[in-house]
Symmetry: C2
C-alpha cells in the first residue's frame, strides 16, 4: 500500500474509538467520496485549526476569545459551573440546562494517569471566584466516578473561604431508570439522599 495512505491510516487509527480496521474503512470511504466527504472534512479541519482556541477565561473552545458564553450578557455572572472537560460543557449546553458561566478544569485528578492539581486550571478558578464579578455559587459538575468525585472534593477544598457557596450535581436514580437494572452504588446513594415527596 502507498506510504501516504499508510500514514493517514495510522493517524486515523489513533483517534478515540477507532482501530486499524475502522481506520481503513474511514480512509476508503473518504477516498471514494472526495468531493462530498474528504474535501469538506479537510476544509473544516483547516478552519477549526486556524480559528479555534481555548477561551482565556473559562477554557471553552471557540472562535472568539473570550468565548461567546463568557461574553453573553444574558448569562448570570455570579453563577459558575465547573466541568472537567469541554465535552461536559457541551453536554450541559445541549440541554440548555445552565444559565451561568463555566470553568473547564482540563481533566480530572488521576494518580494512574499522572494528572495532579497543577495540571488542572484550579488556580485560575480560585482567582475567578475571589475576583470580580463576585461569584455567589460554584456548581461542581463532575462525573459520578471515583476520579470525578475525587476532583470535586479537591476543588471544593480549594474554594473554601473564598465566599462562594459550593454545590454539586445530585446523585440518584436516573430519569427512566429501572431499579432492577441499577448498580448497588447508585441505589445506595439514591436511598441515602432520599427526599420527602413534593
Amino acid at each position: 500500500m502507498d506510504d501516504a495512505l499508510q500514514q493517514l491510516m495510522a493517524l486515523v487509527a489513533r483517534l478515540p474509538g477507532l482501530g486499524p480496521r475502522s481506520a481503513r474503512r474511514v480512509v476508503l470511504q473518504l477516498m471514494k467520496n472526495r468531493e462530498t466527504q474528504l474535501q469538506p472534512l479537510l476544509a473544516a479541519l483547516q478552519r477549526v485549526d486556524a480559528a479555534l482556541s481555548a477561551c482565556d477565561i473559562c477554557g471553552n473552545l471557540d472562535t472568539r476569545n473570550p468565548c461567546r458564553i463568557c461574553t453573553d450578557p444574558k448569562r448570570d455572572p455570579a453563577l459558575l459551573c465547573v466541568v472537567a472537560d469541554v465535552a461536559d460543557l457541551w453536554a450541559l449546553e445541549r440541554g440548555r440546562l445552565f444559565a451561568g458561566r463555566y470553568h473547564v478544569l482540563g481533566g480530572m485528578l488521576s494518580a494512574l494517569d499522572g494528572v495532579g492539581p497543577d495540571d488542572l486550571s484550579i488556580a485560575q478558578l480560585q482567582a475567578r471566584v475571589a475576583g470580580d464579578p463576585p461569584i455567589t455559587e460554584v456548581v461542581l459538575a463532575m462525573n459520578a466516578t471515583l476520579e470525578g468525585q475525587t476532583t470535586a472534593h479537591f476543588v471544593a477544598e480549594a474554594l473554601e473561604g473564598l465566599g462562594a457557596k459550593v454545590t454539586q450535581l445530585a446523585h440518584g436514580v436516573p430519569v427512566g431508570g429501572e431499579l432492577d437494572y441499577l448498580d448497588e452504588g447508585t441505589l445506595a446513594q439514591a436511598l441515602r439522599l432520599r427526599r420527602p415527596l413534593a
Copy 2:
C-alpha cells in the same frame, strides 16, 4: 457551540463506525493535540487528496497510475484476482497471498442499494480478460455473503467464452474455527465440499 466545530463534527459523524458521540470525542482529542494529531492528520489528508487516484487498469488506489501492482514485473500477468473493493485487495496484499494482478469491481451487486452491473467495472474486466496480455485464470475473491456470491456468479457468466479459467475462493471451516461456534451455512458448505485427507 461554534459553527465551524459543529460542521466538523457533522462531517466526522458521517464516517463509517462513528456517530455523534464518538465524533465529539474525536474532535476534542484533535483540538487537544493540535501539533501531534490535528496538523499531521490535515497534512496526510491533503497529501492523499492531491496524490492518490484510482489505477486506470485495475482500480487500485495509488500515487502512481498505472499502480505499483499493475506495473510490477514480478507479478504473473496471466493471473487475475477480482475483488469487490480496494479494502479486499489490501486484505489479500497484507498476507502477500497472491502473486498475480487485481481487478477492483467497485462494489457488489445489490438490488437493495441500487447497485446494478453497469455500476461495476465488469465491461473493463471483460476487455482485460479478452485483451493482451492473455489471462489464463480469473480468481473471484468475493465475500461469502449473498451479495458477494451473487456478484461472483454474475461475473463468472460475463467471463464465459473469453478463454480464461474462472475459479473462486474455497469455502469451509476457517483456520482456528471450532465447529460448535460455526453457523449452519458454513458447516453445510464445509461438509458438501469435503475432500480426501492429503
